[in-house]
Symmetry: D3
Subunit: 136 residues, 6 copies
């Protein structure tokens, strides 16, 4: 399944790391810590990860890009910075325009208010590396 997800993507993880130092350091740290999380044989966590993967798969209902943007919008509203970085990178890899990412984050800002702004600042710093403003 992972491979079929990769096929739908426009950019590889290597592309992301080449464009954005912030994304690369996030990806490396996340991978290291995922190793810590999965070191023990915790079945419930593994089943949760599986469920989590399923929620974002392409379906007849919604294309995967929309689901990733939705995950981004929810993550920003709930101020989960690691979640924001993850879905921002995924949305980029699935071919999102900068405008689509910004509008998803705008919805988070309106729904959840100014406490979201510190997380948006960090999100835009990564976004500016992945898709510089003038290119949007």
């Amino acid at each position: 399944m992972q491979s079929s997800r990769e096929e739908q993507m426009i950019f590889s993880e290597a592309d992301v790391c080449a464009k954005s130092p912030l994304a690369r350091s996030f990806i490396e740290r996340r991978e290291h810590l995922n190793g810590e999380l999965l070191a023990s044989d915790n079945k419930l966590i593994k089943r949760f990860f599986n469920l989590d993967t399923n929620a974002y798969l392409h379906s007849e209902g919604l294309p995967v890009l929309v689901k990733e943007l939705m995950g981004l919008s929810v993550s920003a509203a709930m101020r989960c910075e690691s979640c924001i970085y993850y879905h921002l990178i995924q949305a980029f890899r699935y071919g999102s325009t900068r405008k689509q990412i910004e509008e998803s984050l705008n919805i988070s800002l309106v729904i959840a208010g100014s406490i979201v702004i510190p997380s948006l600042r960090n999100a835009f710093a990564m976004l500016n590396e992945l898709m510089p403003p003038q290119e949007s």
Copy 2:
């Protein structure tokens, strides 16, 4: 602007009320309480409402239906039941399929966990009136 939004919609508010008693009672109560909120001339609230409307407008980035589904997903993850009902009705009016609404709520469930379930129960009760399961 309101009129142009109405034009993009497939179902009128009257259609919604005819299909779903839960939606009708929600819409009536919301309208009454909006009157209370707007009775005083609170400029900041009025400007916020204006900003809020703008965040969900159709744009070159994302179609209005996707924005309403995104608003639904964020609202469910944050357990704001009035917000859920509002965006669920809006998504229905803009032509959402039942599957699109369910998948948006699934993302909320995976991101925000079982505390979301009580809100989902109420959301599905309204959804079942608007779009009965067998029709999906």
Copy 3:
């Protein structure tokens, strides 16, 4: 101490109940449920209540009215409707103007976003009974 707090107040609980049916029904239900909460001899809850009372006492730092408005603003941002009603009534009893209550709620709206609006609707319904808009 309770008596000295009463002395600082401009309106009695009876005044509040006479002006606002919403406030009266809230006060009655809260009193009944406080009886349920304090029926057992739970020392930690009693000590917490004592601490809670102390945080809002008039002090050299901030007058009690400001503290009640602050409690109102925090409660609205965190969407605790019972907490909102309680602090709204307290602020009214300590002589708050309608404008002061509205500006405290405006700060909640800007900080915590549109998910606060359903709680604000209910708050304004009670506020309109206690201090009708035209009188503000």
Copy 4:
């Protein structure tokens, strides 16, 4: 599995309903709304429910009563009233003492503060029906 869980329980659902009108009306409403939620064949929700059930099963690590009390404490801290009622009833059915339930709720109060109090009031109203204070 459900049957083995029932076997570990000291009180049946019928016992709970006989003792507490609040619990009975909660259980009936929850059952009705679960029907709404499960009316459509939403696989992700069904898998989530299964995972949820698993997290609270008796294990070599923690007995089921401790897990239910833990679920109660988390639910109260996050102010999910339906979740509180559910875990309170479950803890009662698995033989919790009143003191164990109160101490679990005390931890929620200290961790999450006074905004938890409105939910505690409702929790104690149900607790007082299930296990009147003088019996504790």
Copy 5:
């Protein structure tokens, strides 16, 4: 408008940076990241910033210092550390006493509980640089 706000202030940003290394590093990082956020022409974000500024302006209802302390109290209750630092610095610049800042944070602690303590630790570290305890 910014200039009239500056005039009401007792301490300049340079004063703050001279007194507190923690505040200076926060201010510099915030300014840098605000540049990232505003690099693209996102109108909704700009309008939100404008609304945000307006909510804290001096008015007939509440003086600006009270509004900043209220923003501080809400931010601490919601555990937004950047928001806490910002409003703490603003309150200091508008002439807050140490006692006023502490009492605003006390209200956050009582309302939102012990999960607020880690944020309070960081807030007090900055407060101790801006207004050392013995001077209070």
Copy 6:
């Protein structure tokens, strides 16, 4: 009281620091910042700390280890990383097995969803130092 708590513990703070560099750096930073928090004579904070300590004491209702695991589960569900580290270390010191800690965190994950995962990653990194997976 502190001494009697120490007596109930299986591992000293020094043991913890010797086993886990992550725990040591957390403990040192927390101790430093607690000094900042307690530098001023803020009576409400001191009383809150006292109440907080009391909530976790061994009692006829629940043993202290269960209370620490409960504190851990609530902290993880509310994504308070300092709180997670603190209760994780306490649970370890009171003799928790690795399985008990994992099952407490599993409940947080199911209740509060995937936004908890970034905090779990960090928790497991510390847990792996204190109680390496193969030893569990």
